[in-house]
């Protein structure tokens, strides 16, 4: 009998969660394309198809934190190449529709926590960056992982 009462209590508790779980998905990679040795190359956050893009979904109006884990280098076998993210390399838009060229929050610092609210159509996050190859940078394909972690703040 106590077991049944406990079950009712738990189910009642479950019914109180109105916040849907948020998700984040990488929808475009940060693509530098061809890089000449000795010639730094930057990708701006508004560059469609080249800037990194993440799509966030969740409860409309809920506040979330965005935390990037940014690499300091891109790598190929036996070599690396410095990668920099400036204090204005990130943009966020939670309006509907979202506009990469005119985001609702621009020039954000991806090196720190960003706090923003999810819109009715979710949220898009864009990231640019700059790569600095050496004069004798080893040729080849370089990659690195960019992680975006999203969490509700409870507000």
């Amino acid at each position: 009998m106590m077991g049944i009462a406990y079950a009712v209590l738990v189910l009642s508790s479950l019914s109180g969660y109105a916040v849907s779980a948020q998700t984040v998905t990488s929808t475009n990679d940060l693509a530098f394309g061809n890089i000449f040795p000795g010639v730094p190359k930057a990708i701006v956050k508004s560059s469609v198809g080249d800037a990194a893009e993440f799509t966030v979904t969740g409860t409309t109006g809920a506040e979330v934190t965005l935390d990037f884990t940014l690499p300091a280098y891109m790598y190929t076998t036996g070599a690396n190449m410095p990668l920099f993210f400036s204090s204005s390399d990130c943009a966020v838009d939670s309006t509907n529709p979202q506009d990469q060229s005119n985001p609702s929050a621009n020039n954000l610092n991806p090196n720190g926590t960003i706090t923003y609210r999810i819109g009715s159509n979710g949220m898009s996050v864009w990231l640019g960056g700059r790569v600095v190859p050496g004069l004798v940078q080893k040729s080849g394909s370089y990659t690195a992982t960019i992680r975006l972690t999203v969490a509700y703040t409870g507000f």
């Binding site: 738990v10 916040v19 998700t23 080893k138």
Partner: protein, 186 residues
């Protein structure tokens, strides 16, 4: 109540506890992450080599001597390798004099405004034409639109003029000609 019923009750309790734990922990897992990738392809390293010196050979006192950039045997040749069709910056640093190794005498060397050629098809100094790149170029201002040839190589041919004095000290004179080359990103 038999053993079977007792087992069922225990199973039910276990299920309830599991659901309760899930309910308690689920708010803590309100976090998600996604991994994207930064990527890029570094192209071929650019290199430059002096593959032939500007050689005036024997020089008579007070008799200036010129070597054209189209002289296969005696013009200076620089060979540049890199990414095919990539834009490059070229700069020659040219001496005003050549000197004896002990520095006791020196001789004027002059480069005219047509003493250089840039060859993107790797023909030869004597056979290069305008369609092969740039001919009759000022070595102090090599073409800004220069590129690596489609085969991944570009050559620079350089001539010059030496002007010995009437009392020029006999001996072997030399001076450095430096080519600086880099990608311009185009």
């Amino acid at each position: 109540m038999g053993n079977w019923s007792i087992f069922n009750i225990r199973l039910l309790k276990l299920a309830i506890v599991t659901v309760a734990l899930w309910a308690i922990l689920s708010p803590l897992s309100a976090l998600d992450f996604s991994d994207g990738t930064a990527s890029g392809t570094v192209l071929t390293i650019i290199t430059a080599a002096a593959t032939q010196d500007l050689a005036f050979g024997n020089i008579l006192q007070a008799v200036p001597k010129s070597i054209g950039y189209n002289n296969d045997a005696s013009s200076a040749i620089f060979t540049i390798t890199g990414e095919a069709s990539a834009g490059i910056n070229l700069q020659l640093i040219l001496p005003e004099y050549v000197s004896l190794s002990d520095g006791s005498d020196r001789m004027t060397i002059i480069f005219s405004s047509t003493d250089a050629a840039v060859d993107t098809t790797t023909v030869t100094p004597s056979t290069i034409s305008a369609s092969d790149g740039w001919i009759n170029q000022n070595p102090y201002y090599l073409p800004a639109s220069a590129v690596i040839g489609s085969a991944g190589t570009t050559k620079i041919y350089l001539g010059g003029k030496i002007v010995p004095s009437v009392d020029q000290t006999p001996g072997t004179y030399s001076g450095d000609i430096v080519l600086s080359v880099s990608y311009n990103g185009s």
